[in-house]
Symmetry: C2
């Protein structure tokens, strides 16, 4: 991936390699034979959003363009759940957390009588359905506490290797959005550094983001916990404590971008009201006017190929975002209309 090999002598090779290969080939063909350039977003139908993305890339990378953006400023941020992969019927990390709490129950006997753990261990759906956000965060924190990032990521990766979405009977990592993979690759092929800014825990998303999206760990900004450093018997470890350091959701996404990235993104992609701060930071920061900016919302409109939901769901609710989008010039990505395919496996049919 481009982002992974952005270094000096391998830079040129990196641009030529990987996902970018088609792009170079296309440029060569177009240049040499007068052919039109290959479509950089082949899974997208023609429309306002696709045009805006292609125009943004052209305007910000063409030498001499008034909207040229120097590479260090080429930052694009992506929400994960519902923006890069399927979040229905339930956030994947929540599904992992419920399974993981059950798996950890044997070594935590006190949980058998203590809520919210008891309901999870007993499979008490009625009680689980009434869990508050605080209950969920207590469970999520418990899956991290006392573990190093590597240990947690191993547990998450092992689970992701087998756990399936109940409707599609596919691994969750198969239910990433092909059109968004193309946006990631297209931006990176044009010198953009792609970040994930997720409400999920950063260790959960780091457990698959490099393989699934080509996004290395240092470009995953997520919810994190306080931690404890120890150097014991000659071994250095950082283990999580069950207290939030940053809740990287809602307003926390603005803080996460400020703290981890320190620049206003040129482009940002989200799908729910949890992404408003990320999108506002992109288009409406004091610095936003100095460069072109693009914000877009993946709008789940396709009940046949994926799911259809917006204002009336508890998982990835999109309510204020639908109202704000036209006011702030954000694009709505209508999955049903804008995407030729949703998942990568459809390409092999």
């Amino acid at each position: 991936m481009l982002s992974e090999v952005r270094g000096g002598s391998t830079w040129v090779k990196a641009v030529v390699n990987q996902t970018a290969a088609w792009f170079v080939t296309a440029a060569v063909l177009a240049g040499c034979a007068g052919l039109p350039a290959t479509d950089p977003l082949p899974s997208w139908n023609e429309g306002a959003t696709k045009s805006a993305i292609v125009k943004l890339v052209a305007d910000t990378t063409r030498a001499g363009s008034p909207d040229f953006v120097p590479p260090p400023e080429r930052i694009a941020t992506f929400d994960n759940d519902g923006t890069l992969w399927t979040e229905h019927p339930m956030y994947v990390e929540v599904l992992f957390t419920l399974d993981r709490i059950k798996a950890m129950a044997a070594s935590n006997p006190s949980w058998r009588t203590e809520q919210p753990f008891k309901a999870v261990i007993d499979g008490d759906r009625e009680t689980i359905a009434k869990f508050t956000e605080a209950d969920f965060f207590r469970l999520i924190a418990a899956t991290h506490a006392g573990l190093t990032g590597a240990q947690f990521q191993k547990a998450a990766a092992d689970w992701l290797a087998v756990a399936k979405n109940p409707r599609f009977n596919r691994l969750h990592t198969e239910l990433v959005y092909q059109p968004m993979l193309e946006v990631l690759a297209y931006l990176r092929a044009n010198g953009y550094k792609t970040f994930i800014v997720t409400g999920g825990t950063q260790d959960f998303v780091r457990s698959f983001a490099e393989k699934a999206y080509g996004v290395p760990p240092e470009q995953v900004v997520g919810t994190s916990f306080e931690a404890k450093y120890a150097f014991t018997n000659g071994v250095a470890t950082v283990t999580a404590e069950p207290r939030l350091m940053l809740l990287d959701d809602g307003p926390g996404k603005g803080i996460g971008i400020d703290h981890y990235i320190g620049r206003v993104p040129i482009a940002a992609f989200g799908n729910s009201d949890g992404d408003l701060a990320m999108l506002q930071t992109t288009t409406n920061s004091p610095q936003s006017k100095s460069r072109p900016r693009l914000a877009a919302i993946v709008w789940h409109t396709d009940a046949v190929r994926e799911y259809a939901y917006d204002r009336d769901t508890h998982v990835g609710r999109l309510d204020q975002g639908l109202t704000l989008a036209p006011q702030l010039g954000w694009f709505l990505i209508d999955m049903k209309k804008d995407w030729k395919v949703v998942f990568p496996y459809e390409l092999n049919r």
Copy 2:
């Protein structure tokens, strides 16, 4: 600087230009005429540390090498104060903080009677000399509180444009270490991503790191504050609160690396006991054995050209590090013996 010419289509030119120019020339010469490659670290005397750095780069980048490291894992971390620039007679951010508190006094009248602010405003050196770490952090927090990162960085950059080190009568940004600039450039020219992991606040270091070191904001990990996101009158801002989020010093450097980078560095450079966790994380994490690792300490041994201090200073104290270095295989960079020049301006004499 590399960063200034890092622009888009000019990226390739940038890599070829500047500090990296010798490298390309060297490769061409060595390849074409059988000449020895040009020295990648010309300000370093031959010695164990220089050899180790050159060997690490060769071993980790040569195709087919048993120690080859894929580019995404090529992470190197650098402390800032005393490792990349001069920290005596006092940490630069502390000098900035004292000046800044005075500048802010007019709009904070209550400070005139309230310690630790009063002593700073009165220039009461005796009281300032007795300040605890908590006092300093209260002052530092006050310089950030209520400001956005961009506002704070503007104030810091304005100050850095004129404030001078009292002994050298030079701007602080002129007192960066030429040999370390060469290490940064050499690693980057070989596909390494260079991070600063600083006990200073990340907004202070971000205000100059890109220009001085070619390190972009997202690769500056530092002390940070809790923050507040707001979207008011159509403007998105993140302003600092006067409470620490991460004290990125001592054990905090282990946590900073875990949270912001999420990988064990291949190489790390520090200079004080505040860097032990960073160095230990590099060489002694459970994952460390899977790759070559290098840790080195800049040892301030040159009272003539810079400063000489280790166990007996309150600014950049190096005590445990001197004991641990031989036990853990860390290199000591003896400034007096290992460096031909200390500061870039010496090259123009």
